[in-house]
């Protein structure tokens, strides 16, 4: 099966490309686009397929945009930095009296980190500003720009509000023998201190980050972090004296660092799989 030798010579000698391509086309030897179009909606327009593709793209974009390790690592550094600051600036508030009045009852003293009252709101607001800048820069480099406002703004607001609440409690409960002081000296009422603590403000803000990044592993880790922050057996780990707050800060900071590292590894695995 072949071309007529005379015809082959004619084709070879032909200098007009249109003639040669036309003759190749006739023999089915040439593939060339007949027309270019944007309107290829007939290809894969099955609604299930389209929706699956759309959902897959959403997941891919969200995964590529995630930078969860950065806020977690940064906040853990902020937590570790609080240890020396609280060590220097802590003080006992009010009298060391019993909440239940009898003189032979155990006595409780409330130790308040005065410098912590100022350190935490300022440090957290700066931390959220740095995190926002990081997200902006990183997403710009990636090519899929996004602002972290949905996490950073609630984070700042929570830090300021809880910092303010903490300061007000300090002011109103430090009057000698005030009712409020007796109320807070009772260890069973310590929950409120855990709720207004900076660690819990970080925990609340991380809920917004989990929502912003649609990050289920982060949500699970944050719930665990919340348990650590609020659960009395863990919060009860304390040393005495000047370093009284240090064990809690080590636990909080260490856990944040651990979550950051775990999520970074998970994200690397996801990116490699895709």
């Amino acid at each position: 099966m072949g071309l007529n030798p005379a015809r082959r010579t004619k084709l070879k000698k032909s200098t007009n490309p249109q003639i040669s391509t036309a003759s190749l086309d006739l023999r089915g030897l040439l593939c060339k686009p007949i027309v270019m179009t944007n309107n290829n909606s007939h290809i894969n327009s099955d609604p299930r397929d389209l929706l699956a593709t759309q959902e897959n793209l959403v997941k891919r974009v969200r995964t590529s945009q995630r930078s969860t390790w950065f806020p977690l690592t940064f906040l853990s550094i902020v937590t570790f930095l609080a240890i020396p600051i609280e060590r220097v600036g802590h003080r006992t508030v009010g009298n060391c009296i019993s909440a239940t009045a009898p003189t032979d009852a155990p006595h409780f003293c409330r130790i308040y980190s005065f410098s912590g009252l100022f350190y935490w709101p300022i440090a957290l607001v700066i931390a959220y500003a740095v995190i926002s800048y990081f997200y902006k820069t990183r997403s710009r480099e990636l090519g899929a720009e996004t602002g972290a406002g949905k996490y950073v703004i609630p984070g700042m607001v929570i830090s300021i509000l809880l910092g303010l609440a903490s300061y007000l409690l300090f002011l109103f409960s430090s009057g000698q023998n005030s009712r409020l002081e007796i109320y807070f000296l009772d260890p069973s009422n310590a929950l409120i201190f855990r709720i207004i603590s900076p660690a819990f403000s970080i925990c609340l803000a991380l809920l917004f980050l989990a929502r912003f990044e649609r990050n289920l592993p982060l949500l699970i880790c944050d719930v665990l972090y919340g348990v650590i922050v609020l659960w009395p057996p863990v919060r009860g780990i304390k040393s005495h004296g000047f370093w009284s707050l240090a064990p809690n800060r080590v636990i909080d900071g260490g856990f944040l660092m651990l979550i950051g590292l775990t999520l970074w590894l998970l994200q690397r695995r996801d990116v490699k799989q895709k």
């Binding site: 944007n38 309107n39 909606s41 299930r48 959403v58 990636l142 720009e145």
Partner: protein, 102 residues
């Protein structure tokens, strides 16, 4: 009697690549041409044509500029684009539910 979801589909949005572009743009405040090209595995020419169609329909806005010496093209979804995308997803889900009912 309500109209069949297939009639409510927007022909411009109801196209695999264009739906993908709108979806990615919706997840970002703005997206770079190179990111779209890589994520959707398209050639530059093909992507440009789809972007032109979407821009002409007012579903996206295209912004060209430089970052250092590098030319960059940024795409962001418009308000109309968001509405159209939401509508498309709604109609697709409706269509699927109608198919599954049969």
């Amino acid at each position: 009697m309500s109209q069949h979801p297939i009639i409510a589909l927007n022909e411009i949005v109801h196209q695999r690549v264009r739906l993908g572009i709108l979806t990615i743009a919706h997840e970002t405040s703005r997206v770079e041409f190179g990111y779209l090209k890589e994520t959707m595995d398209l050639t530059g020419g093909n992507l440009s044509q789809h972007l032109t169609v979407l821009e002409e329909a007012g579903l996206i806005s295209v912004e060209k500029g430089y970052e250092g010496k590098r030319a960059r093209t940024w795409i962001s979804i418009t308000k109309v684009g968001r509405l159209e995308l939401r509508e498309e997803i709604k109609q697709l889900k409706l269509l699927i539910s109608q198919i599954e009912k049969r």
